[in-house]
């Protein structure tokens, strides 16, 4: 491509950044209003617009064994995956996290523990009462992944 053609192409594409902003922001609004992504993230300019920020969400991971529900305290090495799952708990991301958790459970498991049947993950957001500021949890997404599932 000659220098003149590059210049002409770049001049024609001058509105591309503005179009990308509109496209990404619109997609983020649709995703946040119909799915579990936090409005704070994803390029839609919803930061500082709602109390549903990723840092106010929380996640429970439970190891399900024969007749037992064991709430897991996840290690620091899974912190980034947990943070991503809180921000955007899609089924795909929760499944990937469940696999990581299962691997960690198997690595650190007591050999005498009952066999692991599944990992269950739930992500909650918090809503606040306007007058008392009292918080109430509300599930955003959850998934139960059988152990050993590929």
């Amino acid at each position: 491509m000659t220098a003149d053609r590059v210049r002409a192409w770049a001049a024609r594409a001058s509105a591309l950044p503005a179009w990308l902003l509109v496209l990404v922001a619109t997609a983020q609004i649709v995703a946040a209003k119909t799915g579990p992504i936090s409005p704070w993230l994803g390029g839609g300019f919803g930061m500082f617009a709602t109390t549903d920020s990723p840092s106010r969400r929380h996640l429970h991971a439970v190891a399900l064994r024969e007749g037992l529900h064991e709430e897991l305290e996840l290690p620091e090495e899974l912190a980034l995956s947990v943070r991503k799952a809180q921000s955007f708990p899609s089924q795909r991301r929760l499944r990937a996290l469940a696999r990581e958790i299962e691997a960690w459970v198997r690595e650190t498991d007591d050999p005498n523990a009952a066999p692991l049947e599944a990992i269950a993950i739930s992500v909650y957001r918090v809503r606040f009462d306007r007058d008392t500021l009292a918080p109430s949890g509300e599930p955003v997404a959850s998934l139960r992944v059988p152990a050993g599932e590929e």
Partner: protein, 291 residues
């Protein structure tokens, strides 16, 4: 610093083409506040430093294509945890790359700067006014003032709370809940003044963000469009003095100054002062000293 030196700096800033001034401010911002994951930061800093040290590199499309690529890598590598300004930075760097490639930096950056600011504020207003009921009814600021540590000094000063009261309210909003909250008699009661401050912040945020969106999207020459520089500088100087997110403020100021021709010397000065206000307000705990 001598008066002569100040005069010569002022003359140089006044004579600088608007795109060059905007891009230099952006590079300074990237040096003050490197962005991206740990491995990306040195790359951003190195390319930004090169652009500031070499006038030839500053005008080279390669530098801006490189920075745009880094910004896009940053978006993907951090997905989904990237804030809005990571996206806005990527769009602005892409505009700089296209402007350098087209050989029309002044015109193209002025056009994109105006549109990007207007659209970003229009979407922010849409979220706050229409899509988030808990913003418009005041809940967002009522909770954030006691929960977000970035507002702590402001809350103590403006709402007249002492450290213990703030801790009690912070513990309340951070109480772990998986279901509906069951009230109990020992709950701390938020003071009326806290709610008044929060409601004032809600109304003023909505007013100024709507005004900035309209001013930057309105046709050039209208009275609201002529007020856009003042509105943006006011927004940055006041907002980022309270909420220390300097990178976003500097990014907006770089986009704003891209629209100031050399003859608008005073307007350029307003932007530079706003840049310094954001720098000092986010690095010097002036609210803590007052509270």
């Amino acid at each position: 610093m001598s008066a002569g030196l100040l005069r010569s700096i002022r003359a140089e800033l006044a004579a600088m083409p608007r795109a060059e001034l905007a891009l230099r401010l952006l590079l300074v911002a990237l040096l003050f506040q490197p962005v991206g994951l740990r491995w990306l930061r040195p790359l951003f800093v190195a390319v930004a430093a090169l652009g500031l040290l070499s006038p030839r590199a500053l005008r080279s499309p390669a530098l801006w294509i490189g920075l745009s690529a880094l910004a896009i890598v940053r978006l993907f590598s951090g997905w989904p945890n990237q804030d809005n300004h990571a996206f806005l930075l990527a769009w602005w760097l892409l505009a700089a790359a296209l402007a350098a490639l087209a050989g029309e930096p002044d015109r193209m950056l002025a056009w994109n700067g105006r549109r990007l600011i207007g659209l970003a504020f229009a979407f922010a207003t849409l979220w706050k006014l229409v899509l988030s009921p808990d913003f418009v009814d005041g809940t967002f600021f009522r909770v954030s003032l006691v929960d977000d540590s970035r507002f702590e000094d402001f809350t103590r000063l403006a709402a007249g709370l002492d450290a213990d009261q703030l801790d009690e309210l912070h513990a309340l909003v951070r109480e772990h809940q998986d279901g509906v909250f069951v009230p109990r008699p020992d709950l701390p009661r938020p003071p009326v003044r806290l709610f008044a401050v929060a409601d004032l912040l809600t109304a003023s945020t909505l007013a100024v963000e709507t005004a900035v969106a309209v001013a930057f999207l309105a046709p050039l020459g209208t009275w609201i469009s002529r007020a856009r520089h003042l509105l943006l500088a006011l927004f940055c100087a006041t907002t980022y003095a309270l909420a220390p997110v300097a990178g976003f403020g500097w990014l907006l100021l770089s986009m704003g100054v891209a629209q100031c021709e050399p003859e608008k010397e005073r307007t350029r000065l307003v932007y530079l002062v706003a840049f310094l206000v954001v720098l000092f307000a986010t690095r010097w705990p002036w609210l803590r000293l007052l509270s």
